[in-house]
């Protein structure tokens, strides 16, 4: 928490360059730390946690007729809150205790969410490893594998290829449409922009099963095409397009208006401005928008379930015949009563999580910046350039210091 803005001298005091030893400088002002954690705080939390854990164990496991890890944790938490309150009351006034209690509740809900994510990833990872450690899981399809065959036979190659193809096609459809709609809302605007935005927001939350049902109703029932990867990618397009639109609109709006004005002042037309100024400036954010849409699309199960059809065979063609994808593969095999099949389902889940994680991390790495904001390397390069030009202008040597070799940049 920073609620005080001290002058920069004070803020950079201890961390700044060491003062020369010759003069005796006035002691640099120290920034006052508000809040922070004292030893008492830590010990109170730790004491309440251990005390309540012990009490919980005695009550839950020995005295009362309860069972199950879930109930144990809930009881522990409730006892912990009570214990923390009592410990707090011993040292602080009621208002402060309430403040601390709320802080603890806030911390614990944050930790709960983090724990849930870690648990999901960890659980799917550990269950999935059983089948995913055999390389054949990534190189074979399920065509010649029966329900009781060992895990060294059969795999999810068909589903992986199907997922990638369907995702690729859906991206191909959704991205141009989505970005164009976003540019429409932010650059053209007008009376239509607001209803479009409201509808895009509503469409983001469209139940995925309805998207599947729609494509099933149009492509397969009305026009009589076979279920195929292409139909699935159309359903995915309906899901991905609003996500791309919304995320893209946010970054396009962040592009500074001065850049647009500069382009217009140079005589650029609107489409030149959008194409050469706005979109390139927003590029990292747009890539993030696309990748987030992809991460969402690859995991959608219900649209694919209704439209792509299931097959255990390898099918490389999205337009011809049933084509399985990872979510559908999981859905189909974990419902079977065979341990091997469930293990394969989990391994596919692990693969799917891996794909989502890779896409997600890509999006974060590319999209951490605001439009026009430079990466550290870019900023260094510009700084160097500026310094050299200043030096040249001042009549000094053109290159007052040695530039690092090219490879270091």
């Amino acid at each position: 928490m920073t609620t005080l803005d001290l002058p920069p001298v004070a803020a950079s005091g201890p961390a700044g360059a060491p003062a020369p030893a010759a003069v005796d400088p006035p002691r640099p002002e120290k920034r006052i730390r508000i809040g922070g954690v004292t030893r008492d705080d830590v010990l109170t939390v730790a004491g309440a946690a251990t005390g309540s854990l012990a009490l919980d164990w005695v009550l839950y496991e020995r005295v009362l007729p309860f069972s199950g890890a879930f109930g144990f944790l809930i009881c522990w938490y409730l006892l912990f809150l009570a214990g923390y309150y009592l410990l707090g009351r011993l040292q602080w006034n009621p208002m402060m205790v309430r403040d601390r209690l709320i802080a603890v509740v806030a911390w614990s809900s944050g930790l709960l969410v983090v724990g849930l994510i870690a648990d999901q990833i960890g659980y799917v990872g550990s269950r999935g490893w059983e089948a995913a450690q055999h390389l054949n899981f990534f190189t074979e399809s399920m065509e010649h594998t029966g329900p009781l065959d060992p895990l060294t036979s059969g795999g999810a190659l068909n589903a992986i290829v199907g997922s990638l193809e369907q995702l690729g096609l859906a991206t191909l459809f959704a991205v141009p449409l989505g970005i164009a709609a976003a540019v429409f809302m932010s650059e053209v605007g007008g009376r239509l922009a607001r209803p479009v935005r409201t509808l895009v927001e509503a469409m983001t939350a469209l139940p995925s099963i309805v998207a599947g049902l729609f494509i099933l109703g149009v492509v397969i029932i009305t026009f009589g095409f076979e279920k195929s990867g292409l139909a699935a990618s159309l359903a995915l397009t309906v899901m991905m397009m609003p996500i791309v639109t919304r995320a893209a609109e946010v970054v396009i709006r962040l592009v500074p208006g001065t850049l647009r004005e500069a382009s217009y002042a140079l005589g650029g037309s609107q489409w030149r401005t959008v194409w050469n100024v706005v979109l390139p400036t927003a590029r990292p954010g747009l890539v993030t928008a696309v990748v987030l849409g992809m991460a969402r699309g690859v995991g959608e199960t219900s649209p694919v379930l209704l439209t792509s059809g299931f097959t255990s065979q390898f099918n490389g063609s999205p337009v011809d015949g049933h084509q399985v994808s990872l979510p559908l593969y999981i859905w189909n095999y974990v419902k079977q009563p065979y341990d091997g099949m469930i293990a394969r389902g989990f391994a596919a889940g692990l693969t799917l999580m891996g794909v989502v994680l890779i896409l997600f991390v890509t999006a974060r790495v590319l999209g951490g910046r605001r439009p026009g904001q430079l990466t550290r390397a870019q900023r260094r390069r510009f700084d160097r350039e500026a310094r050299r030009q200043r030096a040249a202008a001042a009549g000094g040597v053109a290159r007052p210091y040695a530039l690092p070799p090219r490879a270091e940049r």
Binding site: F70, W107, G110, Q120, A202, L206, P207, I221, T245, S269
Partner: protein, 343 residues
């Protein structure tokens, strides 16, 4: 513009007359004729914008078109019939719709406190260095595929939560009727229930509610926060007096959006429940259903009337979620525009 600062106007707010003297400049409206290229460009963009209407319109149109058969067969009893026997022309959503809503409500009851706590934690309590990482993590939670939530719920959560469910049924069931389990006390009486489906769905809406609420919380004006501190408030006092009132509209919108998402959630619910077609009154008992799970589990039936009935059910789901989401969108937008004027 600069003209407001000029002393030339006799009194504040006096009408300025442009063109009278150099001191009274007013910005001139620049109009540039659109080039043909621009006109095409705008036309294309407008088409892209309109495609959203087209897609949503087509969805509604085709669901109605395909659902008419079923609706015509059973008429109004589609809304009042609980059973789903398409071959006997005896089907309706009177059981699946309320059961789906019940799952969504349970999900909200669990998710909203956790999500609000997390949102407050991230925007107010978490160390600044952790904040960006936590935001990413919540976004990641939203990106985890629903089938993975389903797997986790079915294989990890369900076996571990049964003890707690049994305890609730046996000890609270007598005082709180809807927690009672009326079927025999064996393990499977407590599985695949509305409650467990609701718990899993709650995990899926936590990230949505969290990220939207966090966004509005973090927009609470800094000046008022400092004001609260300066008046001697504790951090919780500040949160309660400044952040929560400021974010109320956004939180309501976020909860509605979460509700819409929970209603439409399919795969995790379909994996966990064992479908039945009675209106659920006891949420801990084995057996549950929702429109989306019904569609996912039954779409394989090949006769035209069954599919048509599913389309009709899908239409109801579509209309309901659209309504909830548009309302939520309006609430959120209103709270955002309020946020813009507050500081």
């Amino acid at each position: 513009m600069t003209s407001a600062a000029q002393p030339a106007a006799p009194y504040a707010g006096a009408p300025r007359q442009p063109g009278h003297g150099p001191d009274q400049d007013v910005p001139r409206t620049v109009t540039a004729p659109a080039t043909p290229g621009d006109r095409v460009f705008r036309g294309v963009l407008r088409l892209a914008g309109l495609s959203v209407f087209a897609i949503m319109g087509l969805i509604a149109f085709f669901l109605i078109l395909r659902g008419t058969d079923a609706l015509r067969t059973v008429g109004w009893s589609f809304l009042t019939e609980q059973k789903w026997q398409t071959a006997a022309h005896n089907f309706g959503i009177a059981a699946v719709l309320p059961n789906g809503l019940l799952i969504a409500v349970i999900a909200l009851v669990i998710a909203v406190p956790v999500a609000l706590g997390t949102a407050i934690f991230i925007s107010e309590y978490a160390p600044v260095r952790l904040r960006a990482a936590l935001i990413s993590l919540v976004d990641l939670m939203a990106a985890i595929p629903s089938i993975v939530y389903g797997l986790w719920g079915l294989f990890f959560l369900q076996p571990r939560i049964i003890g707690f469910v049994r305890w609730m049924a046996n000890h609270l069931g007598d005082t709180i009727p809807f927690l009672k389990v009326r079927i025999g006390d064996i393990g499977t009486s407590y599985t695949s229930s509305t409650f467990i489906a609701g718990v899993v769905v709650s995990l899926m809406i936590i990230p949505i509610v969290t990220s939207l609420s966090r966004e509005v919380f973090s927009q609470a004006p800094q000046g008022e926060r400092e004001g609260a501190y300066a008046l001697g408030s504790t951090r919780w006092g500040m949160v309660r007096a400044v952040v929560l009132p400021f974010g109320k509209g956004g939180v309501i919108g976020a909860v509605m959006l979460g509700f819409g998402r929970a209603m439409g959630e399919t795969i995790a619910v379909a994996l966990i429940i064992s479908p039945n077609f009675k209106a659920i009154t006891h949420i801990l008992e084995n057996g549950a259903n929702s429109i989306s799970a019904l569609i996912a589990l039954r779409f394989g039936e090949s006769d035209a009337l069954s599919l048509s009935a599913l389309m009709a059910a899908g239409l109801v789901l579509f209309a309901l979620t659209l309504l909830v989401n548009v309302l939520a969108g309006i609430v959120i937008n209103r709270s955002r525009s309020g946020a813009a004027t507050a500081d």
